[in-house]
Amino acid sequence: MSTFDQVANIIAETCDIPRDTITPESHAIDDLGIDSLDFLDIAFAIDKAFGIKLPLEKWTQEVNDGKATTEQYFVLSNLCTRIDELVAAKGA
């Protein structure tokens, strides 16, 4: 199963969002309406599924400081790229 499929399944199950409405282009916050508290449950499930720790604090800080956009982390295709990077870094 691809990273995207795993993440989409987690989001669908955790937030009770129909799976077929979740696409790689979906923005978790703007399109799917996931708030920060719900995202903690998603992060928990992703951390467990992939054996990583999503650096949510760092991402939030970067967005707040204007060094990154929410799209870079919360559009699902980008989120999956970050997950793949974290998994690769773990195995390195």
């Binding site: 508290l37 992060a43 939030t60």
Partner: protein, 157 residues
């Protein structure tokens, strides 16, 4: 327990930093205005206060793990179960352990037992934030001393 101050933990009994777990105890007061309403003629500890006691136990664990540099704030609860009534005067044995340490948050599994029998359990999420002001942190260190927080887990300054 000092219900009027929302202080639901009397004493830290054990703190295991390596195992990310804590044990605490608290005695439900024999009298309180809360019991006059909950319920007249049948006083029992409200479930929300049992939840708060599990949240405070989890909170002290996370304060210790974060060396008093971050303050845990209760964010969500799952699978809360209340198996039997808790009555005035009963002594609670509380436990909490970290089940997941995320970035800026943690999830714990907490229990309340009496005489070795579990009465309540829940999974809690607490968000970790910087202390909003020095007075708050100072209050927490004072409170930690009052509830016999282990010296090795107290901040150095």
């Amino acid at each position: 327990m000092r219900l009027e101050y929302f202080q639901l933990i009397d004493r830290i009994v054990d703190l295991d930093i390596g195992a990310q777990s804590i044990k605490a105890e608290a005695t439900v007061p024999t009298t309180s205005t809360i019991f006059e309403g909950h319920f007249p003629g049948f006083p029992i500890m409200p479930g929300v206060l049992l939840v708060e006691s599990m949240a405070q136990t989890s909170g002290w664990l996370l304060v210790a793990l974060n060396k008093f540099e971050r303050m845990p704030f209760f964010a969500s609860i799952k699978d809360a179960k209340f198996r039997q009534f808790v009555k005035p005067g009963e002594r609670l044995d509380l436990t909490a352990r970290v089940v997941h340490e995320g970035s800026g948050y943690a999830m714990t599994q907490a229990t309340v037992s009496i005489d070795g029998k579990q009465r309540c359990s829940a999974q809690l999420t607490l968000v970790l934030a910087p202390f909003p002001n020095p007075e708050f942190r100072s209050h927490m260190t004072d409170m930690a001393q009052r509830i016999e927080f282990p010296k090795h887990a107290m901040p150095q300054s």
